[in-house]
Point group: C2
Chain length 166, copies 2
């Protein structure tokens, strides 16, 4: 079944979900952050079906999140390594992890602790405003149409209501 494409919605959340809105794709990225590079390792660590893994790796390479680096030629074999675009997904992974730690861990405590080697302390990912460095929370944040918002939508009453402009 062809899934709805969110890649061209005027929303960076929807566009990101076009790539990450599936559990296996972000889990493949998670493995890459754990240092996994090879097809058989991804397959074994995740217990993912090989055809599903092939599909997800291809998509991640096509999107520039992973790059293929040959390590053998006969037959050709590749490492899958995070690009800069891929490494930047650490922010999304770390934030998901913090939310899960807070709301889904239960009495036994968190399964995995992040340690910030740079400062030497255990850490959780905090989301702050790039301007004032204070925590960014929904009730103190509003969304506005940006330069890339499509002109053809800007006058629509439902869109103007969404962004609170009259």
């Amino acid at each position: 079944m062809k899934r709805t494409s969110f890649a061209n919605w005027p929303c960076s959340i929807a566009r990101t979900l076009d790539l990450l809105g599936d559990p296996w794709t972000p889990l493949v990225v998670r493995e890459a952050f754990y240092g996994i590079r090879r097809f058989d390792e991804f397959q074994r660590e995740l217990g993912i079906a090989r055809n599903t893994l092939t599909d997800r790796l291809r998509r991640l390479v096509d999107e520039g999140v992973l790059e293929k680096r040959p390590y053998d030629t006969e037959p050709p074999r590749y490492d899958y390594v995070l690009t800069e675009k891929g490494r930047d997904l650490f922010t999304v992974m770390a934030t998901m992890s913090r939310w899960g730690d807070r709301w889904l861990a239960g009495e036994q405590g968190v399964p995995v602790v992040f340690h910030h080697d740079a400062c030497g302390h255990d850490t959780t990912a905090e989301v702050v405003c790039s301007a004032c460095r204070q925590p960014l929370v929904a009730r103190e944040t509003s969304m506005r149409m940006g330069p890339g918002y499509p002109d053809r939508l800007k006058r629509r009453p439902d869109v103007r209501r969404r962004f609170g402009v009259s």
Copy 2:
């Protein structure tokens, strides 16, 4: 088809993906952050199939991300409102949005700008270490087994390799 469940994996990323690892569920949550509360509004704004929306709303209520508040009795009608657990997903949404803004926006610029009403500046979500407040990046962060990591797995060679313990 019954999807693999990630809810009991010893990883808060996987557990979070058990809920959010589908594009529609986070988009329903996004709409709630835009102030959408009613079934027909979610349906219209997202163009989502009604049975899919029914399913996603039920899951989000079951998981305690949204709560139902009656606004009419004959027939019974409900507002769907973010709980504290749901509002905390703003961190995940804002981080996805920043990643999409950076990597998927193209030449026309970002579609939506976040404005931090609390400080009066446009903002992007930055992910920082809770201890030192510096940006949290993958190459300066390591993952360790936490108190909730299952005892039965702690001795396994592949698990010890994953966490870099010998």
